[in-house]
Amino acid sequence: MKRTGAELIWECLVRQGVEVVFGYPGGAILPAYDAILEYPIRHVLVRHEQGAAHMADGYARASGKVGVAMATSGPGATNLVTGIATAMMDSSPIVCITGQVPSSLIGRDAFQETDVTGITLPITKHNYLVTRVEDIAPVLKEAFYIARSGRPGPVLVDITKDAQQASHEWEWSDEPVRLPGYRPDLKTLPEEYEHALELIQGARRPLILAGQGVIKSGASQALQEFVDKTQIPVSPTLLGLGGFPASHPLNLGMMGMHGEAWVNQAIQSADLLIACGMRFDDRVTGNLNTYARGARKIHIEIDPSEINKNVKVDVGIVGDLRQTLERLLPQVEAGDRAAWIAHIEGLKGESAVRDIQSLPDSGRLFAAHVINDLWHLTEGDALVVTDVGQHQMWEAQYYKHEHPRKLITSGGLGTMGFALPAAMGAKLACPDEEVWVIAGDGGFQMTAAELCTCAQEKLKLNIAIINNGYLGMVRQWQQFFYDGRYAATPLLNPDFVKLAEAHGLCGLRVESRGEVARAVEKARQDTGTVVIDFRVEQEDSVYPMVPAGADLDAMIRRPSPLVETAESEI
């Protein structure tokens, strides 16, 4: 059948199972937009293309399917960049389709021309410039395959306007894509498994570091069986939260810069680290020269280029995490780690006393209180999407996730403004989930325009703005490391309640802990999106904290009136 390039785009998307596309029209992508009306695909009109990329990302992370964003050439395409880089760093499968000026104008600095394949080369898993109509269908098929296979990631397809307008005789082909250079299913030599098993057998103080790979490969069940058999305690990374149930007795809590103190200490005294689908980011290792010096390391990773990148390991197993764990499980011996686990329990020491939840109620509203209460009220079962900063860390510490894909956050790139659009994508992917956005007052304003998209699309979100009147995490660094000189961190904010109302949405304000439950319940019952402005303690900090580049166990601890140690005071 004869199809225009524009029609081919939608034919392909429909066949890939795409139900929703997030985008913004413009000159070079107009042919595609003209054709969308004939196809059963919902289009969400964003207010800024960055939002489209984040929505596709949120959709992908919530569902495990490929998210799709669409934009025009030039500024439309460059506005996607932050969202693409975010998806790249966190291995999120998205396909971005951009219009490009007609092929005859490429290289002439035409109106809204930009070399978007050049710009996005380092921040995509792969990208394409399509100038011929007959290439559109095969390229899109490859794009979806590359985005979701192996270590997932963003793929950008830039299609010239003339390719969209031209026609082509076309039949859908079910043949698998042929990419001779692409190897998403690399496997390790069998002897590596033997070596790993030997190390596990001999370990007396082993720890499992559970990253996002647990979620991406659907390895939660396999990991639980592995842990139940071997009795090896687990610590998740930020993006690994939910991959292993928080309530499991062997889940020690999060590692890293704002991880649990005892976890970081346990890592430093371990004799074996089993890294599962994580990449030893500097935020979880601290100073690499002193990181887990006494530990041998097994690294199970789907991406071979991650092995030995940051931390030199003893055994690198390349492959799908779930398959790897399932292969190791029957061979690994049941273990008794009681002494090691008791040792870690001992490391907890006065941590509980230092915890903000244990501090005497001063009547002030702390962000940690809000998140702890939200966790209780939603019974730990909400799909939470966080932005970047202090609230993100408090969420990671106080909202205990039991299931995978229930926390969506920008970990690697740390993209402020991510939460609201990503949550919209997640809500569209999982309409039955109770979705909560937790954002700071700073980050929320970066993409607050998408509130209007939320209203237009009639999406039901619950938005908790943790409003401390500062760019809180930066303020915290200024307090700790820059002599408290608060340069460019205090914020004058709009009235978030009125802002919500201006969009026809419900806005609530909470200023004391006593009001938290009522507001949360009101938001849950409202059928539309509700914005809650939580006016929290302005100069609270996230503890514990490993200063950037410091040894992992050299943590700044929350000062506590109940604990007298000089080193903890800053």
């Binding site: 050049g118 080369l121 001779p180 690399l186 030599l189 002897e191 991406d303 071979p304 030199k312 003893d314």
Partner: protein, 190 residues
């Protein structure tokens, strides 16, 4: 002249890389050096006898660990078909240079003699200059340059290193297994 030269003393690594002959592939490979902070020493690229496949010889600074990381990163590029680290294999390595040397009647024969010793060829002669072509190892070319420099080198161009392993085995196209990514030496330390 020795056929086999191992020019990588551990400081550099030589790779033979087969890539799809598509627009932007060179850019993708070159970009890898910049964004992962690999130090590139030389990169040559040309066609192969197989349509649609180009072959690169890449020389980079770094030890064996860096080489493994570089290899893994190259394989992440969708258009990269095969990577072979030939640093520790018996390999024929060549570099080609064209050197334009200042010459006149007084020194011309002297230069020709030198070229003869180095098995270099004079490929162009004008009144004031000669163009000398030399193929060989980098050290041989450096040697010729050293002795020609006093005459005055007007300009010079070098191709960078190209490499080919010895023996009758053709490179296989699709490795099913990644090699153990941890060098055995380190694993045995424990």
């Amino acid at each position: 002249m020795a056929i086999t030269e191992n020019q990588d003393s551990g400081r550099t690594q030589t790779f033979v890389v087969y890539v799809e002959d598509k627009p932007g592939v060179l850019n993708r490979v070159a970009s890898l050096f910049r964004r992962r902070s690999f130090n590139i020493e030389s990169l040559t690229v040309g066609r192969t006898d197989q349509p649609g496949v180009s072959r690169m010889t890449i020389v980079m600074e770094g030890d064996q660990d860096t080489a493994l990381l570089f290899e893994a990163n190259l394989y992440k590029l969708v258009n990269v078909l095969r990577v072979e680290n030939v640093s520790h294999l018996p390999t024929v390595v060549r570099d080609l240079a064209l050197i334009k040397v200042r010459s006149n009647d007084q020194v011309r024969s002297q230069i020709l003699q030198i070229c003869d010793v180095f098995r270099a060829r004079v490929v162009d002669v004008t009144l004031g200059a000669l163009i000398v072509e030399i193929t060989g190892s980098e050290s041989k070319i450096e040697g010729l340059l050293d002795v020609l420099r006093p005459f005055g080198i007007i300009e010079m161009v070098r191709t960078g290193r190209v490499a080919m392993t010895r023996g009758s085995e053709a490179p296989s196209v699709d490795p099913h297994f990644v090699h153990a990514l941890v060098p055995r030496e380190r694993a045995s330390v424990y």
